[in-house]
Each structure stands twice: as structure tokens, then as C-alpha cells.
Amino acid sequence: MTLFALVISIVIGSGSLAWGYLQFGLPQFARWIILFGAAWLFAVWQRWRWFAYIGLIFNFLAAAFGLWFLNFTPGWMFAGAIGGLTAWDLTDFRHRLRFAASDEERRVVETRHLVRISLLALAGFGLASLAMLLKFQFNFEWAILSAIVAALGITQIIAWFRKRS
């Protein structure tokens, strides 16, 4: 079940990005994205877990590039990024599943995990789409406010990590 979901995530992620690029008349880019997706699938077959990190970075950078420089439709780009994120998560989850003792135990954990990651992916996609739909005027004041909030958030996260370690 996990493997199926993982393959689907990679296909959707790479496919969405490639389709987005193709729609805007960039077949060369689309071809490279498809090629990378194939390489990711090969890495899944070979159980190269490290490749998922490269895959996640690649998908997000490809999405960001499309959004930033080429002003693509956000939908396909978000779908590509979220596909990459889900594939990255499932790659690690698949590795953790080695601890499962029986098919029953595996099924329970898999079901729970897939439900949560699906909900999170949907929520992420929904919130991002909503943000784009509302189309805030993103001016300099908003940027300053976002920077302050981001800095505070990161400080909190670092403090939290240090407390734990």
C-alpha cells in the first residue's frame, strides 16, 4: 500500500510539474522533469533513501522557479511540490515499516499514516490555494511583517530544539 502511494506521489508530483511547464511551451523543461521523476522511481526500486531529499528539493525548486520567473498557474506547481513532499515522507515511512512484525501490524500503521499524510497534503494544498485566491497585495510592509514573524518563529523552533537536546 505504501509503495503504491509512493509511486503515485512521485508520478503526480513530476507529472504536475511537467504538465505545468508543458502548458507554457517549455517541453525541454518538462522532459527533464519527467526524466528526474523516472530517476526517482528507479531510486525507490533501489531503496536509495537519500534520493528523496534531492527529489523534494528539486520539486520545490522547480515549482518556485515556475512561480517566480515564469508566472505559471500556481495549481500545477503546488501539486508538484506537494507530490514531492508526500513522496519524501513515504520514502522514510517505508523504511520505518521494517519494524512492523506482521502484515496486520503493518496494515494498521500504514492506514493511519496514509490518512494523516493525505489530510496534511490536502490541507496544505487547500491553504496555499486559498492564499493565492485571496491575492493579498504583497507590498513592502507585508514583507517586513512576514520577515519579523518568520524570524520569531524560527527563533522559537531553535529554542525548542535546544531545549530538547
Binding site: F60, W68, R96, L127, A128, F136
Partner: protein, 424 residues
Amino acid sequence: MSRAWFLGSLILLLLLAGLVALHGALIALTIPLLLCLLYGLWFSPDEVELEVRRELSAERVAPQTPVKVSVMITNTGGDLEELALADVLSPALAVQDGSNHHLISLPKNKSFSFEYTLRGPRGGFPLETIHAEAGDHLGILRVARDIRTFGQLFVFPPVARLKQVPIRPRRTRVYAGTIPARVGGAGVEFFGVRDYQDGDSPRHINWRVSARHAEDLYSNEFQQERVADVGIVLDGRERSNLFVGGHSLFEHSVLAAASIADASLSQGNRVGLLVYGQYLEWTWPGYGRLQRERILHALSHAAPGASQIFEGLQYLPTRMFPPESQIVLVSPLVEDDYSTLIQLRARGYQVLVVSPDPVTFEENFLPRQPQVQLAARVVRMERGLMLKRIQRAGIQVMDWNVAQPFDQAARRVFARRIQTGGRP
């Protein structure tokens, strides 16, 4: 770098890019990542607090005997969304039934039990660690902990039952036993004739000898039977035990040593064990069941090893064995061991050599070619010659073809020795 740090860095990168470009879509792209990270931070456990209880169906077993392991884990901390558990085992142990690892969700104050069956070869195996790894469902933040438990599994070597080991050391101990003591007194075997003394039983009067003397009476004297000191030396040298393809005679030597120790202790003797290999492992001499346990413990841990110092038997520490006691050497023997054995004999020790036959053993793993057969024949002749020379020096030798069970081989050889009064 942990997954949380990785996500955090990616979020930061996108956020910075969004701020620099003043592009809302780039910032919106961080939302799924942020959700994942926040979920991980929210649901990951602060600490893993678990109580573990492990029980074994048996702690001392024979090789490849199934042992049931029951583990009960209680969560004394907070809820654990995803908990990976692994009872850490030695690679030599094999799980036969069930599983020693699990992936579960364990709420606060709840318990989880699991059972599995394992088996293993000879050895001592600590079961001291349960590895627990807890985290949120997305595995963003994980806390790992090794929980210490107490437990050990001893797989003792197999012991072949021997009725008697025909040993006859020059010196025995004072306690009554089954070894002829070369001293007259109460016993079963005839020892000699002496003058009748007050208190002698009339049944012990030797009437035939007394009839030849008009005035005196003579009594039969019997050989006292006492316990003796037996020192078992197990040869653990790699050069004498390891053969082509990594095949080893050591397991057979261990079986022989265990069987002889068991039989000697059953006869009431004081038995010590010296494993002579990579280093010297000495089990002090003792009597009875406790000593049997100690020797089996030592044998369960024994392994062949190489050492430049103990390459030959010349460094055998004879001072560890009481003078004129019995030494049982369990060794496939190599050519230069002959002189050491002669020296032992010259020092007054009674020596019994139990030698698993390395030539026949190794021949089984070699291709059946004329050259191999010729070489085996030559080596067998050399070995036969060496064993003959050892026997001529007054050393008892048991040449054991390991294809035959040890108790059967020993019964045949030892029965002959017992008939000849333990003489080689």
C-alpha cells in the same frame, strides 16, 4: 541532519526567496512544508519513558533448542504516536517464530506484550537492550532510547554421557572415589597380602598363604579407590582447529571436553578446565554440580583463536595442575606437540589425549582426486606414527573420527583401557 532541520531549512529558503522577490506564491509554497513541520513538532514525544519486563522460558539450553522470550512494555510517559521497538539480539541468534521488533502506537499508561521464539548455537548471549524509537506519524522528530534490561541466554555445548573415563593418576586425593589409588586399604580390587592385624575381617584372611606359615596369619589387602585431580586442557589454537573452507574441529573438541568433564565430575573427581587458544582461560578445579555449571559456562564461551605466544603447547602452564595428577588434553594435535606431551609425562603427569582426527575431517571437504587421496594417506601415516610414539611414551590416546558419535567412540576405546587397568 534531521528531517525537521531539513524541512526548516527548505522553508527558510523559500521564505527568503519570497521576501526578496516580494512574491506571494513563493511564500504560499511554504504552507505545506510548514504544516508538516508543525505537525511533527506538535505530536512528537518529549521523552520516551518505558518500563520493560523480559522473561525467558529457559536461560540455559542446549544448542538450537527453542527458547520463548516474552516482553512486556508499559508506557509510563506521554502518548507515543508511533513507537518502533526492537529487542536487540546477537547476530548468531535466529528468531524461529514471532518477531523481536514491532511498530505500534502506545498511548499513555498502556502496555504492549509480544512473544517470540529464538534459538542459537553454543555461546553466551546477553539480552540487555531494547531499542525504542518514538516519533510523530510523519517521522519529523524522533526520539531514540536504548532501554537496559537484564537477561542472558547460555547455550551450553552438548554433553555425551560417558559411563567412566579410564584415568589412573599417580597421586589421588584423600576422599573416597572411584580411581584406583595405588594404596592398600578398603576397596574392591586385590592389591596385596600383609600380616593379619587385629580387627581384620576373617573373610579377608588369605588362607592359602597362611597355610604355608605355621605361626602367622595373612590378610588380603585391597586397593583404595579415591577421587583424583583432573585437568582438562582444551586446545583452542586456530592452527590446529581450522581447516580448508573455514571448517572447524573445535565444536567437536568442545563436545569431547564437556563430556569428559561431566563424566569425571560424576565420578566425584576434582576437575579444572584450561582453554588454550588466543589466551588462557582457566576454570579453577572444583567438585560437583556447581563445577559442572562453571565448566559448561566456560565452554559455552570458548572460541578458537590465534596467538603468537600460544602457537605451540610449550607454554602450557603445568603449575596450574597438581603434581602427578591426571591431564586430559583434547586436541587435534600438530606435529610439534609431541615434545610437550613427553615433557608432561616426564614431570609425572598421567596424560590422556583425546584427538579428533583432522585428516579424515578435512578430507571430507576436499575434492576426491588422486593427488588429494595420496596427500591424505601420507598425512594420515605421519599422524599415525606420531600417535604411536606418544603411546609408547605411556600416554593414553583416543584417536576419534568425528563422523562417529563421541560416546560410541569413547565407549569402545575406554572399555579397552578399563580392561587393561587404565594402562595405554
